[in-house]
Amino acid sequence: MTAGNPLLSDRDVAFLLYEVHDAAALLRLPAFADHDRDTFDLFLANARSLAREVLYPAYRPMDEAAPTFTDGRIKVHPRMRTIWPRLCDLGVITASRPVDVGGQQLPRTVALLAEAYLMAANLGAYCYAGLTAGAAHLIEAFGSDDLKDRYMRRMYAGEWTGTMALTEPQAGSSLADIRTRAVPQDDGTYAIQGGKIFISGGDHDIADNIVHLTLARIDGAPAGIKGISLFAIPRLWPGPDGLVDNDVSTAGMIHKIGWRGLPSLVINFGERGACRGELVGYPGHGLSYMFQMMNEARLMVGLNGVATAAVAYHESLAYARERRQGRPAGRRDPHSPPVPIIEHADVRRMLLRQKAIVEGGLSLLIETARLTDLAHHADDEEVRRRSALLLDLLTPIAKSFAAERGYDSNALALQIHGGYGYSSEYLPEAWLRDQKLNSIHEGTTTIHGLDLLGRRALAPGALQTLGREILQTCSQAQAAGLDLADVVALQEAAGAAGALIAELAGRHLADPERMLRHSHDVLDIFMTITVAWQWLRQATAARRALSRGTLSTDDDAFYRGKLQAAQYWLRTELPRVAPLVRLCRDEEDSYANTRPEWF
């Protein structure tokens, strides 16, 4: 495209897909045998056209005019009415779903990159599709054939949309405390009563119906998570004569500082005692079912973190090449023309840090998608098992890295724009507002720190599997001729992190509070190491390409940029691991032992 934000670098996407993550190897799996590289490339080409030509131009208008709430209904930005059918037509909702449910069985590895373009262009617009896909997938995985016929197919076709309805005002991070009630009826349905909050896409005027995949308690169910069941609750009930009111009401709209294209709502079920829902799967399994959607949604949030950082990175890169200010140190002649600010080393520091976060984070997200593909479709059962284990470990890490470091990256994009960046005339501030949500929704960073250290890192074999992958990368890096010091640094950091987990687990299994005290730092350690692992993989591929020689000028520059970004991460970020490990091991107790009344 001419003079527009590319959203993501096409060259980088091809590099990560084929040179680092070997997407071509997926074609050897029977599930993907019908595809070929042309399919991958054409799908990505069409997705990026839709992203650049349709979604991106609607981003600012949708940020400026949030949905409206009048007479109990939400009206979203009118542009969504043209965007929604085009997202459905492109096939993003069902891209990686099996053929027998109407999907195209594309590897997640490829579908994820299409989503990355769409999210970078307009995250609110894309997420109607993402949420609908996740909600329909729950019915596909756990619902009866009857539910699939009546709900899933319409959702996958984009006729209806879906939501995840978990949070209640008194139960956010703590889902065990939800109160929404479900009372069995003679016809097999359940009467639903209760209120949910922060329901993204919970009401709109872009499709005929909305199906809320809702957690509720069947009367008489035990307290805590074992009493939670999953229900499909349509806003309008599909009766024999069409859609009729189902007593689902929109009670309020949250006025958000970002993600303004997608309404976040208070939804009440059964205000008049006339709301019906349908049980999905077995009673009492609701939360475990919902974890499928939550884990998918966490990766979607992670990808969104990367995409939101990416679009801002490209904006600031273009700005830094154009904006002329100052003269290089040592050439202060006021008659000489000012230079583009990219000529200043500290601006390049900010750009390289963004590049390292964006492209390192994207690589980590692609790795989770590849593991998803292998966990479901690898021939070898052992590969499926190990992939699922590693995916489980990496999910909170990838999500939190993208959210937390993505926010740093978005702040740098604004910083590069100087005073202009701190104005609503320029877009970086909007992306910064958007990005902030990613460390909050789908589990706050705190929750993911606790989840990682308290559960996922302790899963038998999980850390060993990660360790083996990192070692393999290290030996390939060494064989490609990368600096041994960098390879050893990653090995040592990974070893130290593994030893730390073993030590904490052994020391404090009896005292979880002390064990989890530094969960945030442990998460930081794993974020830093796993992205260093991805950068070493990228550096290995780049080094190999450079040694082959006869590269075009563009390719030569591309690979050299990769080596520089890898160097940045391995030499300026990875060294943060050792002091963090010490902090955790020493149980530094400043905040742990500060009493609430001392603040």
Binding site: M1, T2, D10, D34, H35, D36, D38, T39, D41, L42, F43, A45, N46, S49, L50, E53, T82, R86, D89, L90, G91, V92, A95, Q104, L106, S552, T553, D554, D555
Partner: protein
């Protein structure tokens, strides 16, 4: 009705030009379909399909001339909705405009097509000759630079609105014919086929291919022909002597007074 549409792959026009050895360096180019050919396929599909129904009024055949292995742009057009493809396997660097036109005309005859829809030019060399040459070789009517097309099915004719310097010229051409299309052909109401409701508004621009369309495209038949199969001798009478970037623009001049400006405009620039 049989509609033939040509697709040419070109280096991405949004990439900056690179020079090597006195010519253009395409070694790292990203290849994309010529945009005017995308408008052509969109036109053909709008003529062929009946919105709101499943009926097809025409078979749409995509023709690409180039190495058999490089067919991604042809696949894209099949994925958008064309029915089948034809590749004439030849090295495009060894073909001049006259030969390309002969190949297209030969395929048109072989297929007994009723209509050729082509982009008005290719964005890489902006020759703008092929549709006219093909019409000449076939000795059929042509309407170039179409902004609107209306198909009169009963009369087997098209009414074409052509963009000319001073407005739009409306021309009626009996089929078989050649039509070359311009940018405005992809406005929401530019193409009418007599069966899709005339009030129907298409999305502006050429359609994207859906993932489903892409996977289905691979099952659509693509015939591979050699130029010799078509009785056309490959060769070129064109020769690239050299390609160079235009000279950089010179800096402007600053004048101190209106008189000085007037002086320069009259004496130096001689524009007043």
């Amino acid at each position: 009705m049989k509609i033939l549409v040509c697709v040419k792959r070109i280096p991405d026009p949004d990439e900056s030009l690179k020079f090597a050895g006195g010519g253009l360096d395409y070694s790292a180019s990203k290849w994309v379909p010529n945009a005017f050919d995308e408008y052509a396929i969109e036109t053909a599909l709008r003529l062929a399909e009946v919105v709101g129904g499943t009926q097809r009024l025409a078979e749409v055949i995509v023709l690409g001339i180039g190495p058999e292995s490089q067919r991604q742009q042809l696949t894209q057009f099949l994925a958008m909705g064309a029915d089948r493809g034809i590749i004439v396997d030849a090295d495009p660097d060894k073909l001049d405009t006259a030969t390309v036109s002969k190949l297209i005309a030969a395929v048109f005859k072989k297929e007994a097509a009723d209509l050729l829809i082509a982009g008005k030019l290719s964005q890489d060399n902006e020759g703008g000759q092929v549709p006219q040459r093909v019409a000449g070789l076939l000795d059929v009517p042509q309407a170039s630079f179409a902004a609107t097309v209306e198909w009169d099915q009963a009369a087997k004719a098209l009414t074409v609105g052509r963009e000319v310097d001073d407005g739009v010229e409306v021309k009626r051409v009996p089929l078989p014919a050649v039509v070359s299309v311009d940018l405005r052909i992809v406005l929401p109401k530019s193409v009418k086929n007599g069966s899709t409701p005339a009030t129907h508004a298409y999305q502006e621009g050429p359609r994207l291919a859906s993932l489903k369309g892409i996977t289905m495209a691979k099952r659509k038949p693509v015939a591979v022909l050699k130029p010799s199969d078509l009785g056309v001798a490959v060769g070129t009478n064109e020769q690239v002597v050299g390609v160079a970037a235009p000279p950089a623009r010179k800096a402007g001049q600053k004048v101190k007074t209106v008189e000085e400006l007037f002086e320069k405009l009259t004496k130096e620039a001689k524009v007043i």
